[in-house]
């Protein structure tokens, strides 16, 4: 897949969502990655053309954000959180194991193009540490054997489920979702024991918040007024 007339149609649709079309530049760059697999010069030109910017302005933005890749990533872009908490809880060990098994380092792709690796920063899932991602979908509470199993399955083209989301799609599929196009997967997965830890504890121990008044103070004020 590459840039087509449909890409331009989609880009204009993104631009129309905002009061000022330049606001669509981040979604547009995601869209370019969904079509090209990376931010190409042609993709930059497309963004510039649709939004009335210079290619230098677009390139300046594209190079600022870590999710925009200027060289090809794998069909599955795998992240291992090596920020402090995840690193200490096992992220470093997972990173070492994956890097050794795949024979690639940070920001590198396997020769067959299936997997790229990135040392990622905090994913806002510290309650689920150590955390990995594949094309940014959560792979929570990982350990070394499971991490290796995940990449082997991805390499072999076998389905891998995100621990709190859908079956992991390709890098280009997920970039299209990030550009704001519905993929119909919103109802997949989503919850786990960590998210419900406090609620479960409260229910088991009969804890609850006191109920409020029968009516909102705003509707009371209205009635009295």
């Amino acid at each position: 897949m590459s840039l087509t007339d449909q890409t331009i149609v989609d880009a204009r649709e993104c631009a129309a969502r905002y009061p000022d079309s330049r606001s669509a530049l981040l979604p547009l760059l995601h869209l370019v990655q969904s079509a090209e697999g990376t931010v190409t010069s042609d993709g930059i030109a497309l963004c510039a053309d649709v939004l009335g910017l210079t290619t230098a302005e677009v390139a300046g933005v594209a190079t600022f954000y870590t999710m925009y890749k200027r060289h090809k990533v794998g069909r599955y872009h795998v992240g291992v959180c090596t920020n402090t908490l995840c690193a200490v809880l096992g992220g470093d060990a997972i990173w070492d194991a994956l890097s050794e098994r795949l024979g690639v380092g940070h920001d590198e792709v396997t020769a067959d193009g299936t997997i790229s690796l990135e040392r990622i920063e905090c994913q806002a899932a510290c309650t689920h540490a150590p955390v990995m991602t594949a094309n940014w979908e959560f792979l929570d509470d990982m350990d070394v054997p499971r991490a290796l199993e995940v990449v082997e399955k991805l390499r072999a083209g076998e389905p891998v489920m995100s621990t709190r989301g859908p079956r992991i799609g390709t890098f280009q599929e997920i970039e299209r979702s990030l550009a704001g196009f519905d993929d119909g997967l919103a109802n997949e997965g989503g919850k786990d024991v960590r998210m419900l830890a406090g609620l479960d504890y409260a229910k088991q121990h009969g804890m609850s918040a006191p109920a409020g008044p029968a009516h909102s103070p705003l509707s009371v004020a209205k009635t009295e007024g």
């Binding site: 096992g90 920063e121 905090c122 995100s162 406090g198």
Partner: protein, 433 residues
């Protein structure tokens, strides 16, 4: 203090993230109530509740709203900061996953109060499933006539855009977020002018955290007095505490502000079996660490401030005795270096040097003079940059040195991984053996 599931009360419903699930428990009931009220009454109610921003800084929400000039003829904007990226912070992401409609109802009420007809939810790009959930909830709300033109016949219009970022911690800083949302590099702006006067597209803009906005429907429903029965005078309400690290049951625990870390640890099953607490961080890596002797201090804005730290995002990270403090600090400094946007020289250059020196401590190759050098560089960064990232980068070291000086001294001759076996600190210690 007991747990008080309010925002989290129905997260265990299978369909808690859908319109049907949200409406089952009175969701969106406050839309009609609010749209029939005077917007100023809504602002006053939020002011009276004492709600403070849940994104880290704790600024009073109602006051922030009241800074927006009225009848100025300019469009107003509500921007929700859903760029949760602070190391340790992990409470907005689950909230948006489990109950995105609470956020959207909050957006409707807040937008009405500040007279905005356009709201944006800026979600970090690396969480596609959360973006899907919030976008799907917004589509449902549009279909139900809760967003769009003339909401429920009130004459009030609101358009809501769910926007994905692209990987930049700095975009959690509100003015950098605005630049990013305008399609630029996410770099902080000089303040003043503050966003309430000149924010998005140079128009009056309120930027609030996800949890802050999700609180609005409960405040409108139950009133300020109800809200103020939780917490303290200066820190009213309840909080999504996300407890992570070396505990038995990491997770989200919703409790009144003023709950202590000892209580939260208890809910979370305590420090993992066979280990003891070494240090903890109350609210993200940007706030100074605390020690076991601080476990009984109430988790409020004022009590944490009195200890010289901050409540921050209210997402405590717990580390046991297997953790190398040098390794922990070194990795956080590396993070700040990676995320410095490059705009301000002290932060850009300072974090670059800090990262290299901390690496020496971790490798056991630091010089003794490096101990003071790091401290000096931190002092050169703090307060000398546009935004709080520089301050944050210079924060973790000093308290770590105060409590664990001997570990930094050891960094002049012995690598951290010899002093602390990294295998022992992992959660899968047994599996590795």
């Amino acid at each position: 203090m007991p747990l008080t599931p309010i925002l989290t009360a129905h997260w265990d419903d299978e369909d808690s993230h859908t319109l049907t699930g949200y409406r089952r428990h009175g969701g969106y009931d406050m839309v009609a109530v609010t749209l029939n009220s005077n917007p100023d009454d809504v602002i006053n109610l939020v002011k009276e509740s004492g709600l403070r921003g849940r994104g880290g800084a704790g600024f009073p929400t109602g006051m922030k709203w009241s800074f927006v000039p009225q009848n100025d003829g300019k469009p107003h904007y509500l921007v929700v900061n859903a760029d949760e990226s602070e190391p340790g912070a992990c409470k907005d992401i689950p909230l948006m996953m489990a109950n995105p409609h609470a956020l959207i109802e909050g957006c409707i009420l807040a937008s009405y109060a500040i007279r905005a007809n356009h709201a944006f939810i800026y979600i970090r790009g690396e969480v596609p499933h959360v973006i899907r959930r919030v976008a799907a909830a917004a589509r449902e709300a549009y279909s139900a006539g809760l967003l769009g033109k003339n909401i429920q016949g009130s004459g009030f219009d609101l358009d809501l855009v769910v926007h994905a970022g692209a990987g930049a911690y700095i975009c959690g800083e509100e003015t950098a977020l605005l630049d990013s949302l305008e399609g630029r590099r996410g770099q902080p702006r000089l303040k003043p002018p503050f966003p309430a006067v000149a924010g998005l597209y140079a128009s009056p803009t309120v930027i609030n955290n996800v949890e802050t906005i999700a609180n609005i429907p409960t405040i409108v429903r139950n009133g300020a007095d109800w809200f103020k029965q939780f917490g303290t005078e200066k820190s009213p309400g309840f909080k999504l505490f996300a407890v992570s690290g070396h505990v038995e049951r990491p997770g989200i625990y919703e409790a009144p502000l003023g709950t202590t870390m000892r209580e939260l640890l208890d809910y979370a099953g305590g420090v993992r079996k066979g280990h003891e607490l070494k240090f903890w961080i109350p609210g993200g890596s940007s706030v100074p660490m605390l020690m076991p002797e601080h476990l009984d201090t109430p988790l409020t804005y004022e009590d944490m401030g009195a200890l010289g730290t901050m409540l921050g995002t209210g997402t405590p990270m717990v580390f046991d005795e297997t953790t190398s403090v040098v390794r922990a600090i070194s990795r956080w400094i590396h993070f700040y270096k990676h995320e410095s946007c490059g705009k301000c020289t002290p932060c850009r250059e300072g974090t670059f040097w800090l990262d290299q020196i901390l690496e020496r401590f971790e490798n056991g190759t630091a010089a003794e003079t490096d101990i003071e050098k790091v401290d000096e560089i931190c002092k050169q960064i703090a307060g000398r940059s546009f935004c709080a990232l520089g301050d944050a980068a210079s924060t973790p070291y000093a308290p770590a040195l105060r409590y664990f000086r001997e570990e930094f001294l050891a960094g002049t001759h012995t690598p951290a991984n010899q002093l602390f076996d990294p295998v022992a600190s992992t959660v899968f210690t047994g599996a590795m053996a």
